[in-house]
Every structure is written in structure tokens, then in C-alpha cells.
């Protein structure tokens, strides 16, 4: 139950985030190696939606918009939204403000799972494909390892940071295993690194269709868990005296957040810090209730990633920077600032 004031705040945050998302998306599809004028981009988009408004782009540029820019921006938005909402969910379920799919080992696990299947298994994308399934299993293994390791370490005295340390260790190991697997087969070293550091350059409409079903299921589940996560904030024991079953909530949220992570990683590689930066900013804007944090993180994550992707392909144009580099440039100092403010010591 959101109090009336909190609801107004949530409404404002959603409206602001949607506005930013639309603006960033328009910039994302317009700016690039070939700059497309905003008004004509809007005209073209309207035309493709069956409306007749404004002047559309000429043929070639329209093709650039539809075949390259749009799927890329949409995929960036989807990946960013998934990572952000997964990060917020992990933070809620572990009651740890520093949890993030990348720092928890989920992303690295998904990467290893996907790589193993691509290299050695029957690699099939799309709904019920082996790649997303393997990424999902990998993500669960990653989080599971980090959680188990973190729990063991916490018994020897350790706070919030213990889980993260465990996650870092798991990530390092799984990433090494993933690199090994990929090197064993790969002929193209550059591509390997590009994928590990996060890459949205291969986006096509098909890619989007491949992940959308998984993303939809994961997001629907997570958005439905907002109220439960709010109750879980008072601790497992008190939550259960309020009629919530903490183990069940935790299971559903972990599965769904790992599915979200896996779908993002399967198409984009490892992109860190999005799940950390976005929910923290969102909490400042929309309050701490997960019923606000989760949906606003989804939108904000999308906007953040579209912006990072735009930077990654323009800053060194004509060559492209992996988007993970851009998110790390933003995210790592942010993470350091959080440590300083005292995020984990509470």
C-alpha cells in the first residue's frame, strides 16, 4: 500500500522517466555515422505506424533507421531495463544495496552457459532455444555460488560486502572459464573481447524477437513481486508474521531476476553496473518502495543503456566502443561513491 504522497511521487517519477526515455530513444535512432534529422525520423516512424504525419526520411536513410538504428535502440533499451530491474530485485531479495547482476556472478554465469552451448552444444536461439536456457542455468549457478560462498563467509564475520566479495570471486572464475571456452574455439579474438565487454552492434529485429518472450516473463514476475519485496524489507521473520513466505518470494524473485539477466546477457554480453546505478538513482527520485523502484528502474535502465550505447558508438566514431566500457566508466566511480557514503556498512 503506497501512501498518497508516495503515489504522487511515483507518478511524477514515472512521467519524468518516460519523458527521458523517449527523448533518449529519439536521439539514439537519429544520431550516428549518418545523422538523421529528428523531424524526418518522427515522420518515418509515423509512416511505419500507418500514420501520415510530417515528412519521412528518404529511402536509404529510412532503411538505416528501420534496419539498423531501431532494433539497436530497442535492444539496448530492453537489455538496460532487464539489467536494472534484475539489479533492483537482487538488492531487495538480498537486502543488499550493492547487489547487481554483474557483481553477483549472474551475468558471468549466463555468459559461460551461453558460450558453452554456442561452442560445443546445439546452439539455437529463440524461444525454447538452447542458448537462452543455458544462459539462464548459468545465471542461477553464478548467483547460487555467490550466495553460498557469501553465506559461508558471513558466518566468519562479514557484512553486506561479503556477498559482493563472493560475487566478485565467482565472476572472476566464471569469466575466466568463459574466456577459456571461447578461446578454445574462436578464431576471432576481437570478437571475443567485444562480446565480453558488452556489445549491442549485432542487433537485428530477429535478436529482439529471440529475447522478448523471456524478458516479458521475467519482467512480469518481477513487477508482480514489488509488494512482497517491500514486506521482505522488515526481515524474513517479521515478514512471515505478516503473512508473507520469505523463501517462496526469494525463490520466485531469484529465478525471475536470473532469467532477466540471462536474456540480457545472451544477446549483449557482459554489461556491468547498470543494475547498480539505475536503481540507486531511481530510489532518490521515486522513493524506496519496490512497487515504484521496479517499474521506474525498468524505464530508467532502458534510457540509461540507450544513452550509453549512443556514447559508445559516437565517441570514437567511426570505430565503436563496447557499451560495457561506457557503463563501467559511469558505474565504477558511482560504486566507489556508494561505498564511501556507507552503502554496505549499514
Amino acid at each position: 500500500m503506497l501512501a498518497p504522497g508516495a503515489r504522487r511521487r511515483q507518478g511524477r517519477a514515472v512521467a519524468a522517466t518516460v519523458a527521458v526515455l523517449l527523448a533518449v530513444a529519439l536521439a539514439g535512432v537519429s544520431i550516428g555515422a549518418v545523422d538523421l534529422p529528428f523531424d524526418q525520423v518522427l515522420g518515418s516512424l509515423a509512416r511505419h505506424l500507418g500514420l501520415d504525419a510530417g515528412t519521412p526520411l528518404p529511402g536509404v536513410e529510412d532503411a538505416i533507421l528501420v534496419e539498423w538504428r531501431l532494433p539497436r535502440v530497442l535492444l539496448a533499451g530492453l537489455v538496460g531495463g532487464l539489467l536494472a530491474v534484475a539489479g533492483a530485485s537482487y538488492q531487495g531479495v538480498f537486502r543488499n544495496p550493492l547487489a547487481d547482476p554483474y557483481l553477483l556472478g549472474a551475468a558471468a554465469g549466463a555468459g559461460l552457459g551461453a558460450t558453452l552451448v554456442i561452442e560445443w552444444g546445439p546452439a539455437r536461439f529463440g524461444p525454447l532455444g538452447t542458448v537462452p536456457a543455458a544462459a539462464f542455468v548459468g545465471a542461477l549457478v553464478g548467483v547460487g555460488l555467490a550466495y553460498a560462498l557469501g553465506t559461508v563467509a558471513a558466518r566468519h564475520g562479514g557484512g553486506t560486502a561479503t556477498l559482493l566479495l563472493a560475487g566478485v570471486a565467482v565472476t572472476a572464475f566464471l569469466t575466466a572459464a568463459q574466456t577459456l571456452a571461447q578461446q578454445a574455439h574462436s578464431e576471432d579474438l576481437r570478437q571475443v573481447y567485444s562480446w565480453i565487454l558488452g556489445n549491442l552492434g549485432t542487433a537485428q529485429w530477429d535478436t529482439l524477437g529471440d529475447v522478448l518472450p523471456y524478458a516479458a516473463v521475467a519482467v512480469a514476475l518481477l513487477l508482480g513481486c514489488g509488494r512482497s519485496l517491500d514486506v521482505l524489507a522488515v526481515g524474513d521473520e517479521e515478514a512471515s508474521t505478516l503473512g508473507v513466505r520469505p523463501e517462496r518470494v526469494r525463490l520466485v524473485v531469484l529465478l525471475a531476476a536470473s532469467l532477466a539477466t540471462a536474456s540480457a546477457v545472451a544477446v549483449s554480453g557482459l554489461i556491468g553496473f547498470v543494475g547498480l546505478v539505475v536503481p540507486h538513482v531511481v530510489r532518490r527520485l521515486a522513493g524506496t518502495s519496490y512497487r515504484s523502484v521496479l517499474p521506474v528502474s525498468l524505464l530508467g535502465g532502458a534510457a540509461f543503456m540507450i544513452l550509453c550505447d549512443l556514447v559508445s558508438r559516437t565517441v570514437l566514431a567511426p570505430s565503436e566502443l563496447p557499451v560495457g566500457v561506457v557503463t563501467a566508466f559511469v558505474g565504477a566511480p558511482f560504486f566507489a561513491a556508494l561505498l564511501r557514503v556507507g552503502g554496505p556498512s549499514r
Binding site: 508482480g224 508474521t241 508473507v244
Partner: protein
């Protein structure tokens, strides 16, 4: 609505290899206050947690004849409110939002979407008809008023003083509209004045709402003055039970607390005054 008669029979709890509670019996009538007292480590909190359904236990805990351990978690939450000794206070949550958590068992946990304006109806519940959002608000506002928190409703929980926090926790439990209120050391963090104010408040709620209150209390004088019925635990067993005057005797305090104390009858119950041997010897 059912009455809230609590009947604990033969409850045992084993944690690890240690038997924390052995064969504990306790009966709490509706609208009464039962105090659980005993030395450190006697199992007071564990007994409360067993009644709340938080620890696995042998024996039976019956609420109006129904076994608490077999109740659906949500149904149980509409009947039993529990305030732990050290509540977890979430960050960035206002007092009103916190008290709203008490309405959780009446709300759907899976709304259609995270942004939905109102949760769905309650599928199960003792009252039959599903309460609406407006009812939730009314209950919460009433709980805030009852605990004198109206002025603090929009304050962040973490900025409250110890006494205010305890009141907020109590308001949350009250928002559950329970018949039984379990309070684990509600006065631990409070000075004498605030402790008395809080216990007076609980006593008023007990009398006016007909709540069955079961609380652990380490302060024996407060226990002797507020509870109508005391259960003295020692090493996991009930060693004495009954009206405060019968339970808190100089002999029982010596035997089970290893304490030297004078017990005197006051107008509101029993007062326990610790006595230092040296000064006692000088007086006599």
C-alpha cells in the same frame, strides 16, 4: 469474530542439540495480559516465537481451538500480531508506510502489475468479504491515532526515537487487527518513563479492543504491575504460573534468578526490589 483464546500445551523446542523449551503449558484468556518472565536464556523469546509460528516445536499451540502451526501464513497474520525485541526498520520508509505493512495479510501480494493503483481482493480470510483499499487506510489511520503517531506519520522510520519506534512497531501489529498481540521485551530500549507509557498504552488497547496480550518482560516490577497472569520459565520449563503475587516470591526469585530481592504488594500488583546483601545486613 473469534475471541483469541490461546492454549499452549506441552510445547518443546530444540535448537541445534539444545532443548530450549520443555513441555511448556500456558493458557491466555481473551482480553488478558500474560507476562512471560524468567532469567536470561530461560526460553522466553523462544516461547513467544513458537506461539507466533516462527519456530518448529513439539506440542500444540491452539488459538480458539485451531492449531496455529497448521494455519495458512496469511490467515495466521490476521489473528496474531508479533512485535520482536529488535525490529528490523527498513530504510527510507515513512511511519505510515511502515504501519501499512500490517495490512499485508489482507492484500493481494500479486497485483496485476507493479503500477496498479490497487491490489486485488483477498482470496482467503477469516472475515469473508475482502476489505478494500479505503478500509486499509482507515485501519492504518486509526492505528496511527491510537498510538499517538499522527504527527509523525510522514517521518522516516529511522529518524524516530526509541519510544516512537516501539510505538510504530505496535501500530503495525495493531493494523493487522489481530486478536492476539505477542510482544517480545517491548520496553528493552526504553527509559522508565517511556516504558510505563508504552505499557499503559498496551493495557488500554488490551482493555478496549479485547486483545489477548502475551509479552516477555525482563523488568519484574513492570511484569508484576501490568500482567494479570505470569509464567515463570527457568531452563526451558515452567516453574511457576499464576497471579503475580504467587509467581514472584522471594523464594522463587532466589531459586530461579539467584537473586536477592524484596517483594512487596502494591496497589497495582507486585513490586520487586533488588536488595544488596551488605546493606540488607546493615539494616537488620
Amino acid at each position: 469474530m473469534s475471541a483469541g483464546r490461546l492454549e499452549v500445551t506441552g510445547v518443546s523446542v530444540v535448537l541445534g542439540r539444545a532443548a530450549v523449551l520443555r513441555d511448556v503449558d500456558l493458557t491466555a484468556e481473551p482480553g488478558t495480559w500474560t507476562g512471560v518472565v524468567g532469567p536470561n536464556g530461560a526460553g522466553k523469546s523462544t516461547l513467544l516465537r513458537a506461539v507466533a509460528g516462527l519456530v518448529r516445536h513439539g506440542g500444540r499451540v491452539l488459538l480458539d481451538g485451531r492449531e496455529v502451526a497448521r494455519m495458512d501464513a496469511r490467515h495466521r497474520a490476521t489473528r496474531i500480531g508479533y512485535a520482536p525485541q529488535v525490529p528490523v526498520l527498513p530504510e527510507g520508509v515513512t511511519v505510515r508506510e511502515y504501519v501499512h505493512l500490517g495490512r499485508t495479510p489482507y492484500r493481494s501480494l500479486v497485483p496485476i502489475a507493479g503500477l496498479s493503483r490497487r491490489g486485488g481482493p483477498v482470496p482467503s480470510g477469516p472475515g469473508g468479504a475482502a476489505p478494500r483499499v479505503a478500509d486499509d487506510r482507515a485501519v492504518v489511520e486509526r492505528a496511527l491515532r491510537r498510538l499517538d503517531l499522527d504527527g509523525l506519520a510522514t517521518r522516516s522510520l529511522r529518524t524516530l526515537s526509541g519510544g516512537e519506534r516501539q510505538r510504530a512497531v505496535l501500530a503495525r501489529a495493531l493494523a493487522q487487527e489481530p486478536q492476539v498481540l505477542l510482544l517480545d521485551e517491548p520496553t528493552t530500549a526504553l527509559d522508565l518513563g517511556h516504558a510505563q507509557q508504552l505499557l499503559e498504552l498496551v493495557d488500554t488497547l488490551r482493555a478496549e479492543e479485547g486483545l489477548t496480550v502475551v509479552s516477555t518482560l525482563h523488568d519484574l516490577t513492570l511484569a508484576g504491575e501490568y500482567a494479570q497472569h505470569l509464567v515463570l520459565l527457568a531452563a526451558g520449563r515452567v516453574v511457576a504460573a499464576g497471579p503475580p503475587g504467587e509467581v514472584l516470591t522471594e523464594a522463587s526469585l532466589a531459586a530461579h534468578y539467584g537473586a536477592r530481592a524484596e517483594v512487596t504488594a502494591g496497589p497495582d500488583g507486585v513490586r520487586v526490589v533488588p536488595v544488596r546483601r551488605r546493606s540488607a545486613a546493615r539494616v537488620r
